[in-house]
Symmetry: C2
Subunit: 202 residues, 2 copies
């Protein structure tokens, strides 16, 4: 692709580094900014810079937060004996949107993935073990809400081993046919798990 301007080219190259944005989309976005008033670009870049420079992570659960401790960890309404382990902050948002979970979270910041060079030390697993140890038994149950992939299973297995010595119940979110999903179109592994993991009809 040949660009009419070095400035456009540099901007397109930077935008195209974002995940899921190719050069063509990046060009469309950049040309949109050129067409709009300069204040639109300033508003965008200022919001991004301000966000990146001032963003903090909760000292307890490592979720994104504006303060030292996030609003979920600070809340007196949340059940501190129930801990849900997730990979990323967007998983917390997804679970919060269900309104079905009233415990607290622990954000690992990723998943064990030797292929991508991510080991246990790169994640907040030590911090998790520390948190469980310091709770002196007040954390009763830990729910693993990780990806249903090899990496997710490896991470779950590793966490299970690290937490063996503590009196805490380790559970995992259920896998099965999605609500509104069709049996016919469900993949075999999911359908198989939904049968082995069947629950009492109530």
């Amino acid at each position: 692709m040949e660009f009419p301007s070095k400035l456009i080219e540099d901007a397109v190259n930077e935008v195209a580094k974002l995940p899921g944005i190719g050069k063509k989309t990046a060009l469309r976005l950049v040309l949109h900014l050129v067409k709009e008033n300069e204040s639109k670009t300033t508003a965008l870049t200022e919001a991004l810079d301000k966000m990146r420079q001032n963003i903090r992570f909760c000292k307890t659960c490592h979720n994104i937060s504006d303060e030292e401790e996030c609003s979920i960890c600070k809340s007196h309404r949340r059940d501190k004996s129930l801990l849900c382990i997730v990979e990323e902050p967007n998983d917390v948002m997804a679970i919060e949107n269900t309104s079905q979970f009233l415990g607290v979270y622990h954000v690992l910041g990723g998943i064990i993935s030797p292929m991508n060079g991510i080991g246990p030390a790169d994640l907040k697993i030590d911090s998790l073990v520390d948190r469980v140890a310091k709770s002196q038994g007040s954390i009763k149950e830990i729910i693993l809400a990780l990806s249903p992939t090899m990496e997710g299973d490896t991470t779950a297995f590793y966490i299970n081993r690290r937490l063996k010595e503590y009196p805490v119940k380790l559970t995992t979110i259920s896998r099965g046919v999605s609500v509104g999903g069709d049996l016919e179109y469900t993949d075999e592994i999911t359908l198989g798990r939904s049968i082995t993991g069947r629950t009492l009809f109530s």
Copy 2:
């Protein structure tokens, strides 16, 4: 959607103002920046700010340019007697990529669209008429490369009327079945035009 942080929310709202980017995609992009080093965000915002603040438009053809006159208008290899009228800078890029056009351009900056409140005065049409008048007959042919829509036809009709008094040949790019396209899957209007606009087999 509830956000764990006001900073994230503001950033997502700004990113979601870009065309074709919804809130979910915006959140994914913003969380990507949070996960990456701060320098990545700075590189992105600096490239965008620098681009928007310093971008210029060619004084002759109104295409995006780093200088007062764009490289196409400045080139001695381009045929100045052949002018191609397009809507936006990306149309110039698309035509340049074909390597089939050796004339120069005139970028209107949009298209006449009463529905969106865009009239002839919002476009570089006066500048086009001026350019043709000042050329004193040296511009021999003007190719209209506008969208094959109602708005494109309206704009073409308006330009035709404005240029009537000048001795210049007005042509339009051909419409027809696309190369590699299948007759069966070509819409009736395009197929119809390809028959009425048939060319001599050579």
